[in-house]
Symmetry: C2
C-alpha cells in the first residue's frame, strides 16, 4: 500500500514573531541544530518505511523557500510534489486538494499521512510504530487521528475522548478544571492535527459531511495549472475558485461529524511549539536556568530564554523573561505571557509595520537580498544568487544601479552588452537599461548593489523575461 | 574680573553603556531635545555674564568630536580653547593644566569655573546666581565648591558638611543610615564636582598641598605643544611626562586638605545622571509610567524606560525594566539594578568585545564612517565627509576599494589622476594606489565604500599626508 506523507506548510508568524513573519512563518524557524521545522517534518516523513514521495501543500509565496529547505536535507532523493495555494486558507481546502491529487496520481487506495510542518516529534521510532498502526486502520477505510497521551492539564490544545481506538468525541480547548479532569480520567488525548486515511475514504467522507466544500475544491482543482517532471508534480491552484472553497478546518468539516473516526493513542515526544516559551525549552539551560542562543552577557539573570544573532545582548537582574532579537525587531516578554505575542503581531499588522511580514533578508526564487542601509535617494543591498540561478531580464525607470561582485562570478546583461563580472569587479546599470544578473558558477554569487535615484520602491521594475514565471 | 568656564570632558562609558562607549563617553549622549550633555555644559557656561571664552580639557581622541558638538551650538561665537590629554587621567592633572594655561594667558587673577561636561542643571538662573556668589569669594582668594541641597538620602554622592559658607569637611559616599542623618541635619550638601577659584589661588594651594603633582604638571605643560589662532588656543599635553602626574582627584589632592575652602549652598536642579534610571527620568512618562524614545509597541507594560532607534521594540507583561537598544548592542536590566551596568561594561572590556569602545558609527576628524556589513574578503562602509574636509593621502597594501558617491561631490586623488566624482558616479582604487578623498563642496558628501581583499583591518593604512597631524 502506497503511503504518502502530506506536509501542510503554512500558518501565520504571530506567536513566534519576530523570528517568524507572515512570509517567513513558523515552519521555517531554525532550531539550535540548524534544521528548520519543515526540514524536520520532511525527514520524519521521508524516513518512514516505503515512502518515496512527499506531497506538500503550501502558499505559492513559500514555494521556493520550501524547496530550498528540502534540497538541503533530501539526500535520499525523495520525490517532492507540491500543491500551491494562492493565499492562506484553513486545513479542509488543503486536504481536499491533496486527496484529489493523490487519487488522480495513485488511485483512491493511496494512503495519505497528514503532517503539520511546524511540530516536533522527539521519538521517531514510536512515531513510526503509530503510523504503521494508523495505516493498517486507514487501509480498512477508517479516518485515523493521532491522539497524544497528555502529561499536563494543557489548556492550549483540543482533546479527543477515546474508547480504545474508537473516537467518542472531539473537544475544543478546555478550561484548566476540565483539562485536569481529562488528565485524571485517562480516556482523553491531545488532538495532534496529524491524520491518516486513504484518498478515497476522505473524498467519500467529504461527499457525506461537506459536499459543497468538496464540489468547490473539485472545481478549483480542475481549473488549476499542472506541471510534472522527473520525481515531482506541481499543482498551482486556481486563484479565483480557491476563494470559493469554505475557509474551515478539517476537524470541523469532517472529523467532528464522521461516525467512523479512529484514534491511535501515542507517546511520541510530540510538541507543537506554540510559543517562545515552548521553543526556549528545547535549548539546554545553564546552571541558572538560562537558555541562550547567540552572544549574551548575563549578570544575576535566571530562567530566561535569550535568542539573538550578531549583536551583544547584555542583561542584569532579570528572571523569567524571553528576549528575542532580530536585525530589525526586538521582543522582550515575561515568560508567563508568551501567548501575548500574537497581540503584538496583530497590532504591527494593523499599523502597517513591515516587520510583521518580511525580514530584512528577503527570500526570492534565485536567492536572497538584504537591505544594508538606505537614505535619501540611495539604497544598499547585499544580493546573494544561487549557483545556476538568474534574476529576470528587467528595467527600472527611476533608479540606476552600481553592482560590485565581492564573491563568486556574475554574468550580466547590461543594455546591449553581455559581460562577466568577477570578484572585485563592478559594473554600472543606468536607469532605463534592460539588464539581467545571472550566476553561471558553482559557488554562491555575492554582490553589493548601490541603488541611486529619486524613487527606489521595489515596484519600479519592468520584467521582460523570468524563468520563475513572474514576468 | 575675567571668568573662564573650564569644561572637563571625559569619563568612561561604563554606567550608560551601550549608548556611551569608551570613545563616545557620557558627555556625548544626546537627550530627547537633540542636545548632547557637553553641548548643554557649553551653553551653560557661555550664557554666564561676561564669558567670552571656554576652556575645555579633554582626551585628544575626543577633540574633533567635542569641537563638532560645540560648532553646532556656538551661535554666540564664544572662543573655544582646548587642553588635550594623551590619555584619561583624574581631575587633579586636568585642573593643574587649566590653572597653568589660564595664568599664562590671562594672569593669576583670572577666575576659573570648573564644570563637569556630563551633568544637567535645570535652573540656570539659580545657577548663574550661585556662580556670581562663588566668583566674589574666589576673587578674595577662596577655593569655592558648589554644594547641592539634598532632597533624598542619596548614597551615590559625596557630601560636604558646611557651616554657612565654610566647609567643615568632605565626606565619602555614605551608607543609607548616614545619608538619612545628613539629610535630616540640614548642614550637609552634595558635592557637585563644580568649583570656582582664581588661577593663582589654585596654583598656590597645589604648591602647599600637592607640590609634587604641581611640579610634574608644570614639567608636562612646559614640554607640551602649543597652537593658537583667531579665538582659540590649543595645548596638546606632552604624553610621556603627563604619565608622571599623579592620577588623583582634585578633591583628594587639594580640597580635602585645604583649610580655606568655601561652599555655595544651592538649589539649581542639579542631576549628575549617574545611571540609565536617572536618564530615563528625564523623559516624560505615559499613563502607565513608561518612558519611550524610539519605536515601541507595549502590551501591559508599566514603569519601563525604553530607548531605541530604528528597530521596533515590542514588549509584553513587563514592569520596571530598562531596555536600551543600539545597532550593535542591547541592554535589558531591572531598573533597581541600573548601577550593575558598569559590571557588564567591565566584563565586555575584559573580554575584548569591541562594543565597550566604539559604536558602529565611528567619528573621525573629517566626518564619520559606519560599517554596514562585512563578510569573508569584503567590508562595506558608509562614509560621510564634512564640507571642506579631507581624508589623508593614503595607501593600502591588501585591499582595493570601490567608491560610489550617493550624495554630494568628491574630489579624488587616485594614483596619478585627480578627478571629481559626482552623485551616482563611482571610482575604483586598486590596492597599492595612493589615494585621497576630499569634500570640496558645501554639503556633506555621502559615499559607499566596498572594500575587497584578503585582509581588511583598519591598520592596513600608510598615511603620506594628513591635515589632522596623523601621518
Amino acid at each position: 500500500m502506497k503511503l504518502i506523507p502530506v506536509i501542510l506548510c503554512g500558518g501565520s508568524g504571530s506567536r513566534l514573531w519576530p523570528v517568524s513573519r507572515e512570509l517567513h512563518p513558523k515552519p521555517f524557524i531554525r532550531l539550535a541544530d540548524g534544521q528548520s521545522l519543515v526540514q524536520k517534518a520532511f525527514l520524519r516523513g521521508a524516513r518512514l518505511a516505503g515512502v518515496t514521495e512527499i506531497l506538500t501543500v503550501t502558499n505559492r509565496e513559500l514555494f521556493f523557500k520550501t524547496k530550498d529547505d528540502y534540497r538541503e536535507v533530501n539526500q535520499a532523493g525523495i520525490g517532492t510534489s507540491f500543491i500551491l495555494e494562492p493565499f492562506a486558507r484553513n486545513t479542509a481546502p488543503a486536504i481536499a486538494a491533496a486527496a484529489l491529487e493523490a487519487a488522480r496520481l495513485h488511485g483512491e487506495d493511496a494512503l495519505l499521512l497528514v503532517l503539520p510542518a511546524d511540530h516536533l516529534i522527539a521519538d521517531e521510532a514510536a512515531f513510526a510504530e503509530a503510523v504503521s498502526k494508523a495505516a493498517r486502520m486507514a487501509a480498512e477505510g477508517r479516518v485515523v487521528t493521532f491522539g497524544i497521551q497528555p502529561d499536563t492539564p494543557e489548556t492550549g490544545y483540543g482533546y479527543i475522548e477515546a474508547d480504545g481506538a474508537q473516537v467518542v468525541r472531539f473537544i475544543e480547548k478546555p478550561t484548566l478544571d476540565k483539562a485536569q479532569a481529562y488528565l485524571d480520567s485517562g480516556n482523553f488525548l491531545w488532538n495532534s492535527g496529524m491524520f491518516c486515511f486513504s484518498a478515497g475514504t476522505m473524498l467519500a467522507e467529504m461527499e457525506r459531511h461537506c459536499p459543497d466544500l468538496l464540489a468547490a475544491a473539485k472545481s478549483c482543482y480542475e481549473q488549476s495549472r499542472f506541471a510534472a517532471g522527473e520525481g515531482f508534480t506541481e499543482v498551482e491552484l486556481h486563484a479565483k475558485s480557491f476563494g470559493q472553497v469554505p475557509d474551515i478546518s478539517i476537524d470541523y468539516a469532517v472529523m467532528e461529524k464522521s461516525g467512523s473516526m479512529a484514534v491511535v493513542p501515542c507517546t511520541i515526544g510530540w510538541n507543537d511549539i506554540g510559543s517562545w516559551s515552548a521553543l526556549g525549552d528545547l535549548v539546554a539551560p545553564d546552571a541558572s536556568g538560562n537558555r541562550v542562543e547567540g552572544q549574551a552577557l548575563l549578570h544575576d539573570v535566571s530562567n530566561c530564554y535569550i535568542r539573538g544573532g550578531d549583536r551583544v545582548i547584555a542583561a542584569a537582574g532579570l528572571d523569567n523573561l524571553l528576549i528575542i532579537d532580530t536585525p530589525d525587531a526586538l521582543l522582550v516578554v515575561d515568560r508567563a505571557r508568551a501567548q501575548d505575542v500574537k497581540h503584538i503581531y496583530n497590532r504591527l499588522k494593523q499599523d502597517g509595520n513591515e516587520t510583521y511580514k518580511l525580514h530584512r533578508t528577503v527570500h526570492r526564487p534565485w536567492g536572497t537580498y538584504t537591505v544594508l542601509g538606505e537614505g535619501s535617494q540611495f539604497k544598499i543591498k547585499r544580493i546573494e544568487v544561487k549557483p545556476g540561478a538568474s534574476l529576470s531580464l528587467q528595467m527600472h525607470h527611476h533608479r540606476s544601479e552600481h553592482w560590485i561582485v565581492v564573491s563568486g562570478m556574475a554574468r550580466v546583461v547590461n543594455g546591449d552588452n553581455e559581460l562577466f563580472v568577477r570578484t572585485n569587479e563592478s559594473t554600472y546599470i543606468p536607469a532605463g537599461h534592460r539588464h539581467r544578473l545571472e550566476n553561471p558558477g558553482v559557488l554562491n554569487l555575492v554582490m553589493i548593489e548601490v541603488q541611486s535615484g529619486e524613487y527606489l520602491g521595489e515596484d519600479d521594475i519592468v520584467r521582460f523575461q523570468d524563468i520563475y514565471g513572474r514576468s
